[in-house]
């Protein structure tokens, strides 16, 4: 055989057969199979070297997907042969399971169209799409059955090459890039929340609300200090392997460092301590989802309910653990409230998957935006909804149960008057700002939940 490419393909085949069959002996009756990734393009392109890195990235991403779906990887190797790049992955899974993962990647990865992932069971039998009841793959150029077009050389090679380059140019974010994007959206949400006005009782550009020791500028400094930490939380979530509950101690350490930066930026004032906890969880949850579905559409990775439920997985059981054996002397406001009234506060909200955000604030924000309200006005309306449903521990701590009841009644009144969309509603909200400030009611917990709401909204709509 003189053609080195044909020879390389045959050698690869022989190697695959030997490898697949060796799995049988290694796995002691456990099902095992072999996946082999190659480039799916005419051989002059495949062997050109231009797509070696692309093949390596897709192969690593496939290996990640396999691990993420709970399959044990027995071994993997990526090499450059005479027929172009080839990636081998042996897994402790039957051929249909591994083939499904391969087909998903071929379909969902931005570069999936450019690779073939062949599966072989441990008897050396190929397991293809047909065996999964699926149709053949589509031609890159015309979308008809690919095998026909390539066997018959239906398309002009220049046209095929152009199409391959076009697909290879599709953007793909690295894990680092995804974490930075998540962090940027979290920072944006934090800034938008700070800027929204009028926020009754809270610090905004128009007034410091019920506060004497901080203003809008304190919040801007604090947000800027937290920006890099939001990306770090996302990166920690993305890089984490295994049970999500294992992330909590890691996030807490990062959270303490973020708090130190916040206090340094604000001159010792607590602006965002609660937000570091809750936004940190959501960033980590979003990072984890993005890493698991790196190849999926950004929208799929950023479904608010999914992000919130990943965050909830991280803190499962936290209320019971944190509030068991509270030291009364050193207890925080939230801890004292749990001890006296059983209020779970932000821990409970996180543990339950942020229902106040998902069920109440986010639908209101979206309804406002689609009704044509400005971002500011839609945010204020969503904030009023939060006032009306959340047991805000900041309010309970400073103004007691009576203060909370007053806040809720006022919020209901402003919403009933039409909220920011009506003159009556706006008047009620401005009046509320004065009375809450006078009564020392500052619903900071709700403000944090508003930032989370805006974050989830941006994450689910900002298409990259």
């Amino acid at each position: 055989m003189t053609d080195p490419i044909l020879q390389a393909r045959e050698e690869r085949w022989t190697k695959k057969l030997a490898l697949a069959r060796s799995l049988k002996a290694r796995c002691h009756g456990q099902p095992a199979s072999l996946a082999v990734l190659t480039l799916r393009m005419p051989s002059p392109l495949r062997t050109s070297g231009q797509f070696d890195e692309l093949a390596r990235i897709v192969f690593l991403s496939f290996a990640d997907e396999v691990v993420e779906s709970g399959i044990r990887v027995l071994g993997q190797e990526f090499r450059l042969g005479a027929d172009g790049p080839e990636g081998y992955l042996a897994a402790e899974a039957d051929a249909p399971t591994l083939k499904r993962a391969a087909v998903d990647l071929e379909a969902c990865d931005p570069w999936g169209e450019l690779v073939d992932i062949d599966i072989m069971d441990s008897e050396g039998e190929p397991f293809g799409r047909k065996e999964l009841g699926m149709g053949p793959r589509a031609c890159l150029v015309c979308g008809k059955e690919a095998a026909c077009c390539s066997a018959g050389r239906t398309h002009d090679p220049d046209l095929v090459a152009e199409r391959v380059r076009e697909i290879a140019k599709r953007p793909r974010l690295s894990l680092k890039g995804m974490a930075e994007r998540i962090g940027r959206l979290a920072l944006t949400a934090t800034l938008l929340e700070a800027a929204a006005a009028p926020k009754p009782g809270l610090v905004d550009p128009l007034s410091p609300g019920a506060h004497r020791d901080m203003d809008y500028f304190t919040f801007l400094s604090s947000a800027a200090a937290l920006g890099p930490w939001f990306a770090e939380f996302a990166r920690l979530g993305a890089g984490h392997r295994g049970e999500l509950s294992g992330l909590l101690p890691i996030l807490r350490e990062a959270g303490k460092a973020a708090e130190r930066d916040m206090f340094a930026a604000t001159g010792g004032i607590n602006t965002h301590k609660g937000l570091i906890f809750s936004m940190g969880l959501l960033c980590a949850g979003a990072g984890r989802l993005a890493a698991a579905g790196a190849s999926l559409a950004p929208q799929t990775c950023a479904e608010p309910r999914l992000v919130a439920s990943r965050a909830a997985d991280i803190v499962q059981g936290i209320t019971l653990r944190d509030f068991n054996g509270i030291d009364k002397g050193k207890a925080t406001a939230g801890e004292r409230l749990y001890a006296s009234e059983g209020v779970r506060g932000i821990r409970g909200e996180a543990e339950d998957g942020f229902p106040a955000v998902i069920e109440h604030a986010l639908p209101r924000l979206r309804a406002g935006l689609s009704a044509g309200l400005s971002m500011n006005d839609a945010m204020i309306d969503a904030l009023l909804v939060l006032f009306s449903v959340v047991e805000d521990t900041n309010v309970l701590g400073r103004a007691g149960r009576e203060g909370l009841d007053f806040l809720r009644a006022e919020a209901h009144r402003a919403l009933a008057a039409g909220g920011m969309a009506s003159a009556g509603g706006r008047k009620a909200i401005l009046a509320m700002d004065k009375t809450l400030s006078a009564r020392n009611i500052s619903p900071g917990g709700c403000a944090d939940l508003l930032a989370l709401t805006v974050f989830l909204e941006q994450l689910s709509t900002a298409g990259d």
Binding site: M1, R9, W13, P126, P136, A147, A151
Partner: protein
């Protein structure tokens, strides 16, 4: 040429073909053709196979072609290699 043993060439990867040649009783040439593009290219695959086998002068063989959408030049090369390998002493 004469087939002394069973020999294969190629693979079952996409755009390739696995050719298996084995000795058979008598002087006939038995063809077994499978292809994922049998509808479009079945006739052509059969005629190319017949032509390459005839050109080699091989008789008394069974030829099994399992095509995965190979180019015609690939099919020819795989057939020639398999025939040559089958003719080597066992």
């Amino acid at each position: 040429m004469e087939a002394k043993k069973t020999a294969t060439a190629g693979s079952l990867e996409s755009s390739d073909v696995l050719v298996t040649i084995s000795p058979a009783a008598g002087s006939a040439v038995e063809l077994k053709i499978e292809s994922i593009v049998i509808k479009q290219f079945g006739k052509r695959i059969r005629s190319v196979t017949e032509e390459v086998v005839a050109a080699s002068g091989t008789k008394g063989v069974s030829v099994h072609v399992q095509d995965r959408g190979a180019l015609e030049c690939t099919l020819r090369a795989r057939l020639e290699t398999a025939i040559a390998r089958a003719a080597e002493p066992a």
